[in-house]
């Protein structure tokens, strides 16, 4: 187990360099991924084919939009018409999660530049989804989200109106029923219709309920007409039909691929746990040995300090520190080690040293005049070290979990995607609440990092247990 972990920890930085971690915090790096998508293999349990994300790239790229550009001069006026087309085959059993259209447009200062977007369905229906005016010039993209409108002026609102008109025309619904289903005050829907369902469902009354609508499989097409009034006017488009499943580990609420974070969690957790355990156990061992070897006031002081450290509520105090100083991962490590200067290990080591103290070779060292410090570091500590290894292995889980706990509370390193950080993110995004859309919560978002943490700590616990058996002959005999 541990070997596998170390292998992962060593390979991850090779395959996914640190720049991935930087990209993790960059929301623009993930725009082509679906939001809150389950892992691809989860469709085995769902029992139906769930849609993958379909990318329709720009004209000029392979498999991209086809473009036809016509320039007409008429009565001193230039008319530029660009028609962009692309189609995709949709064979999944569930609706996509979002549909978005991105366009780069070049246009002059004349008013009236217009984009008209048509949606062609496999059953021959064609819906004019919106007529819009581009607002952003190339190289920046105009974003037309067809399914998740941000504001009332968004094209998606005319998408809703156009879908409604289409459905009324087809006698699927009536204005009254539509208003009952999707109440809107002042033109703003309380809960907007699901355009991705209405656009891709079989044309019958069931389509109005997203949970009983059936998918219309077949080839869909985008047709976009761009109308410009200057010789240089041009347009290009790409579209994303976001799926419901993604990759091996799914995505989070910011469309990020969780696999990246899961893999990166391993080296971070290992390094953090090992460094913390190593530092605190070594310090505690030395202090424990000093306490046992020198005795007297030092002993009394260190033992009382150990008692004190065992009693104070460490986690609340750590949380306080976290709130006030927002430390980086090194800061957290430092604070954790400070709070583990003395503790259970000090007591264990002290008791071992007390028995080692009486042995003959110490007597011998004393007799040829070795100094007390020399005896402590050259004779006693080497005897204690084997126990220390077991204690280090047993302490690693504690450090991993402290970091995870702090990260869960949002007090960890804000830059690093640690396992605890992902679980905390997931929790604050309601991953542990069942909704109608996600009846099992966002299980992939929490269970994989949790499994990663458990796997790592169990590996160390077993290692510690193995050490324990070797070092405690009594446990072995029985």
């Amino acid at each position: 187990m541990l070997g596998f972990l170390i292998l992962v920890a060593l390979l991850v930085p090779l395959f996914a360099p640190y720049s991935v971690v930087q990209a993790w915090n960059d929301p623009s790096a993930w725009t082509n991924n679906p939001k809150l998508a389950a892992p691809e293999w989860s469709e085995i349990f769902a029992g139906k084919k769930l849609p993958r994300t379909i990318l329709l790239p720009y004209n000029g790229e392979t498999g991209g939009f086809t473009k036809a550009r016509v320039v007409v001069d008429e009565a001193g006026q230039t008319y530029v018409t660009v028609v962009l087309r692309s189609s995709f085959s949709f064979q999944a059993d569930a609706f996509p999660s979002e549909i978005a259209l991105y366009m780069t447009t070049v246009f002059g200062n004349q008013s009236g530049t217009q984009i008209r977007m048509f949606w062609d369905r496999p059953d021959g229906e064609e819906i004019n989804l919106f007529d819009a005016t581009p607002t952003v010039r190339a190289p920046f993209e105009n974003t037309f989200s067809l399914t998740t409108p941000a504001i009332k002026g968004d094209p998606a609102y005319s998408v809703y109106a156009n879908i409604r008109n289409w459905l009324i025309r087809k006698n699927i619904t009536t204005q009254t029923e539509w208003d009952q289903l999707y109440p809107s005050r002042g033109g703003i829907y309380d809960s907007p219709p699901k355009a991705e369902v209405l656009l891709m469902a079989q044309l019958n009354h069931n389509m109005l309920d997203p949970y009983s609508a059936q998918v219309l499989k077949g080839t869909y097409a985008f047709r976009i007409e761009f109308q410009g009034f200057a010789r240089t006017d041009d347009a290009n488009a790409r579209a994303v039909i976001y799926g419901r499943v993604y990759g091996i580990a799914g995505t989070d609420g910011s469309r990020r691929d969780l696999l990246v974070a899961l893999l990166w969690g391993a080296p971070v957790a290992l390094a953090f746990g090992l460094a913390g355990a190593l530092a605190s156990v070594l310090i505690q061992t030395i202090l424990g040995a000093i306490s046992g070897w020198y005795g007297g006031v030092i002993d009394e002081f260190l033992q009382r300090a150990a008692d004190f450290y065992l009693i104070i509520p460490t986690l609340p105090i750590l949380i306080l520190l976290g709130i006030l100083y927002r430390p980086s991962i090194y800061g957290i490590l430092f604070v954790l080690v400070i709070f583990g200067l003395v503790g259970a290990t000090t007591k264990v080591v002290r008791s071992i040293v007390l028995s080692v103290k009486e042995e003959q070779f110490i007597e011998a060292a004393k007799s040829y005049g070795a100094s007390r410090g020399r005896i402590l570091f050259r004779y006693i500590l080497p005897r204690v070290m084997p126990y220390t290894f077991a204690l280090i292995a047993l302490n690693v889980p504690a450090f991993i979990f402290l970091e995870a706990s702090l990260s869960f509370l949002g007090l960890g390193d804000p830059q690093l995607p640690t396992w605890g950080h992902i679980i905390g993110d997931a929790y604050s995004n309601d991953a542990l609440f069942a909704s109608r859309a996600f009846p099992s919560g966002l299980w992939w978002w929490v269970s994989f990092p949790a499994a990663g943490i458990i796997f790592t700590t169990v590996a160390f616990a077993l290692l510690g247990y193995a050490f324990d058996k070797v070092l405690n002959p009594r446990l072995r005999e029985q």
Binding site: T314, P316, I323, L324, F401, F433, A434, I454
Partner: protein, 403 residues
């Protein structure tokens, strides 16, 4: 008199520890002056807004405006004692905290609308106490029982399997199990509620007495079990009788109509199971090892030589001698339970102390955080003291061991 002297010494030490812990908390919570700055800014903002809405103030000339504003601001700062030097101020905070005079929350309030930190905390304290005490007791009972059994069958596949299970489960804190339990039992199997204290909307309030039958039943069952172990063969029937009565109480309670407290208890099953699952391993593992160590001692051989039954040897000689260290380990597990409760309760959305701490962090409510840390420190100190007491009662050697 050895025990009394020892206990007095421990009490004194624990009291000093408590004071230092609270002082450290106060100093950190004040962020070496940071919270004071935040409070001052808050006062400043509040006054600004208050004055901006005051027409009489707005008609005054600017010089007067500034003077009046500064006067009011300084008085407000003075009234809250924010201008005192660091040491006296922190000492004042500490004494207040120790007297459980916890002040007023800045953001949070209790369910009856009070902003007193003490009211907020003591509204939630019983819930956490009930949940975590029950969970830990169940874990301890199961763990000790398993540990004895493992020791009896040492080195059998059963023992090896359970040892590995114990060693691996207790390193993982309850909240991680909590997440998995919610996913499996709450969402996957849909057998238990995944969080909260009651269903929403809560059922009508029932008399408090309805909360106790399961606890009473559990007490009867475990008491009866212990009795049947310790009594002579003829009187064991009494023990079995008590067990049966306990089960009867449990069944009767199960058949009773679904009420407020039952609802609450059903909601507590998953968090308690998560806590118990992460705690029982340390019990069974320590019990197993200690019992195996004690079994090698001469007095156990002597007891066996006298022809006592193996079960009596185990429960009367071995367990008695092994109990002090077992009880000590309770200190550490309970300590872990109290502080780990923050995330466990958050995960389960359980409105106890831990969840309160989480909310206080989110809202940056410093008085609540200080108050809670104080209460945590107090709980820890009390737990450790109670353990010390039971330790000295259990182990007669303590008088000889302590100088």
């Amino acid at each position: 008199m050895g025990v009394v002297r020892h206990l007095t010494k421990r009490a004194l030490f624990l009291a000093i520890t408590f004071v230092i812990a609270v002082y450290v908390t106060v100093v950190i919570a004040n962020g070496f002056g940071r919270i004071d700055d935040i409070l001052k800014k808050q006062i400043y903002q509040d006054l600004k807004q208050q004055f901006a809405r005051n027409p009489a103030y707005n008609r005054l000339p600017p010089a007067d405006q500034a003077r009046i504003f500064n006067d009011t601001y300084n008085t407000a700062v003075e009234a809250q004692g924010l201008n005192e030097p660091f040491l006296p101020k922190t000492i004042r905070y500490t004494t207040n905290a120790i007297q459980l005079n916890l002040g007023r929350a800045t953001q949070l309030f209790s369910s009856d609308g009070s902003t007193s930190v003490a009211a907020i905390i003591f509204e939630r304290l019983p819930r956490s106490l009930v949940l975590f005490t029950t969970a830990n007791l169940i874990a301890a009972a199961t763990g000790i029982w398993l540990g004895l059994w493992m020791a009896k069958k040492a080195l059998s596949p059963f023992d090896r399997g359970l040892t590995v299970l114990s060693v691996t489960t207790f390193v993982v804190p309850p909240w991680v199990y909590g997440i998995l339990f919610i996913l499996v039992f709450g969402f996957g199997l849909k057998v238990l509620p995944s969080g909260g204290l009651t269903t929403i909307p809560p059922l009508p309030q029932a008399p408090l007495i309805w909360a106790f039958p399961p606890l009473v039943a559990l007490g009867m069952i475990s008491g009866g079990w212990f009795a049947s172990r310790h009594l002579r063969a003829k009187q064991r029937v009494i023990g079995y009788g008590v067990i049966v009565a306990g089960i009867a109480v449990l069944i009767a309670w199960g058949l009773a109509p679904y009420d407020y407290f039952k609802d609450m208890e059903v909601h507590m099953i998953l968090p308690a199971a998560a806590v118990a699952f992460s705690v029982f391993g340390s019990w069974s593992y320590t019990t197993r090892n200690l019992v195996l160590q004690v079994m090698d001692e001469d007095f156990v051989f002597a007891a066996r030589a006298r022809g006592l039954k193996e079960r009596d040897v185990l429960s009367r000689y071995v367990l008695r001698a092994a109990s002090p260290p077992i009880v000590t380990s309770l200190a550490l597990t309970l300590a872990a339970a109290w502080t780990g409760a923050i995330i466990t309760e958050t995960v389960f959305n359980f409105p106890g102390l831990g969840r309160l701490f989480f909310d206080a962090i989110q809202l940056n409510d410093a008085p609540v955080i200080i108050g809670l840390t104080t209460v945590y420190a107090l709980l820890l100190v009390l737990t450790v003291f109670l353990l010390d007491m039971s330790y000295s009662l259990l182990d007669p050697r303590i008088r000889a061991l302590r100088r």
